[in-house]
Symmetry: none
Subunit: 208 residues, 4 copies
Amino acid sequence: MNRDSKSEAPVKKLRSRLKEATADAILAAAATVFAREGLHAAKMESIAEQAGVSVGTLYNHFTDRAALLEALRAKRREALLERLDASLAQVEGQPARVQLRAFVVAVFAHVSEHDVFVRLLMQLPEDAARTQNKSRVLAELNRRLEPILDRGIKAGELRAEGRAFYPALLVGMVRGALDRLREGDRASPAAAAWAEEVLRVFLKGIEV
Amino acid sequence: MNRDSKSEAPVKKLRSRLKEATADAILAAAATVFAREGLHAAKMESIAEQAGVSVGTLYNHFTDRAALLEALRAKRREALLERLDASLAQVEGQPARVQLRAFVVAVFAHVSEHDVFVRLLMQLPEDAARTQNKSRVLAELNRRLEPILDRGIKAGELRAEGRAFYPALLVGMVRGALDRLREGDRASPAAAAWAEEVLRVFLKGIEV
Amino acid sequence: MNRDSKSEAPVKKLRSRLKEATADAILAAAATVFAREGLHAAKMESIAEQAGVSVGTLYNHFTDRAALLEALRAKRREALLERLDASLAQVEGQPARVQLRAFVVAVFAHVSEHDVFVRLLMQLPEDAARTQNKSRVLAELNRRLEPILDRGIKAGELRAEGRAFYPALLVGMVRGALDRLREGDRASPAAAAWAEEVLRVFLKGIEV
Amino acid sequence: MNRDSKSEAPVKKLRSRLKEATADAILAAAATVFAREGLHAAKMESIAEQAGVSVGTLYNHFTDRAALLEALRAKRREALLERLDASLAQVEGQPARVQLRAFVVAVFAHVSEHDVFVRLLMQLPEDAARTQNKSRVLAELNRRLEPILDRGIKAGELRAEGRAFYPALLVGMVRGALDRLREGDRASPAAAAWAEEVLRVFLKGIEV
DNA sequence: TATGAATGAGGCTTCATTCAT
DNA sequence: TATGAATGAAGCCTCATTCAT
């Protein structure tokens, strides 16, 4: 009792760190299982097993299945966006084509590193009806794309006319490429090559 | 005997026509419900209700839920491909850019006419692992794209270098565009406009 | 019209004969299917198929599944009992051992000729609770056994003491033997041999 | 750590004991319900209700209905065979008639004590086709009978000729007797009397 | 807080029976 | 009367969630 009283705050931090560690392990397990078995087929029990905890523990950390999935989505979305924003920060003020390259390269790099779940995330149709304002990845990507495009247009680099279509088209190409990567088609070019080609076609396609 | 023989066959034909009509009604209902509630959430009971039949009837026409879904997929896939092939037949021998235009326009037209389910079909990630050799839409689109591109390259119309990437990129853009259409975003340009822009960017992007 | 009026009665007989023929075909099919798939697993549709008619026709001849099954039971029971009674009639007044031989031989002969369903019928536990006063085969066999035994006892041929048990024991042995026959155990003795041995053991076992 | 280690194992043991208790309760309930409603008519829900658990719990302990039934069969079969083997062990080396008495008495005693389900089990025709190598009760009884009979024959106690038929005949009589017991026929002699009479007839019937 | 057995609503499927042709 | 598609009650099983230890 006495001995402990001094360390109460640290204990809380320790506990809180342990708790976070468990939550992280669960999220990692969930990413694996969701990717392996599908967003709908994945069972809470499989996730628990993969995480090495019991089902009950899942519910000590997340309200329910939906909350767990949403937490995972949010976490992975943030990770992608943070990396992307860091990349974009480094090319601040440079020409649109440079910024677009940074954009595409960052996305490909992130996905090929974090593999399964981010890929799954990227493939989800942006289904407004069913996911409300969740699953914002694609929307956020668009949000970052738009100012780049607008500045490119203002600078005379990019054609203005199709402006409204460009984000969807670029992101569409990226998703198409990722889909191919997923197939594990050994004959198909690697991630970096895909990034390059997406860029080349897109830039050539929209330059003035 | 003689008198009867004339009517027996027609009776069979009538029944068989009625049966087919029921099967069609079920497929139509299934398309609606799958699109409205999702591929996984859609309940057999909802489909029956939408079709105006009882649950049992679903099973008189399709072995089980998976078979019903697959029949629907196959049917809609065929419809899309038939239309597409008809379109392509009309531009046989013409320059790649004309053929590509026919391709993109046909896909957009078909999807915006048959709305919900074909769109859903197009958005399914080509997940080889889970769907085996089913769900071939995207693969079939690629199959039709490749000879067009090859001829375009041979004719000096299109750049040869990125050949391996082009199908995925074009289809990716189309899917990206369709995704936007789905959102029912009133502010976003209409199907035809999307088709034009996809074409413009793609053609400009890959021409020599 | 005129021509027909003379033959109205014959027509009815013809019709009734045709109707009976259909009913018989259905019963025969039912026997096959019940024996092949089990009393519970057998489906009305399988029976219809085996009979070469449609399900509806089954219901034109029998109220419902239970009625069909009971009709079949009754028919086969009657056939067995008729044969048995004919056999017993030929040994009227002779010693018990002769009558018992006639009894056992008739049962074995009938079952091995009509194979599947009668065998199934014989194996059904005489389950009073579930089948009410149906499924009377075993009871009827007992009914015929009792006077034979009683006369044998009165004549000093058979031991009186175990009288109450004898019918069940004899019928039990017969069923045990039939069960073996069913196994199609090629190594096991044939029907006639079983009949002989059942008789030998039983008679030796109960003689004074 | 040390303090906890002492209690962790016991907790696991406690849980596992509770789990076993539930499984046992389910098996007991299943025996009751299968016997009361029939092997086919018995509903999982009835079993759950009888056991005082929910349906889901049944599936936490047994894969499916078939597995539950088979587990029950196996358990009751083992119980019968254990008792039988214990009985037979006590008469090891003694004359065949003594061993056969032990055999018959043990079977009757076990069935009349454990009532319903074992009786049901004994009545199942040894249907090789439908139950594969399951439902081995009768086969196991035969397996134990054969050496007894062989020794009896070698010792000159029993007639050799019908050897191949004897197991089926004895077991047949036992089943016939049990069937009568089941009928709850108040007039019919009690279990012990049946055992005696089966023995008397069989021994007299097969002695040299 | 972790555990994992228990819960039970909900979905899929079967099949005896009905009924319009 | 025969047909066979339609019906729908009923049964099996799953799995997210709860809760006593």
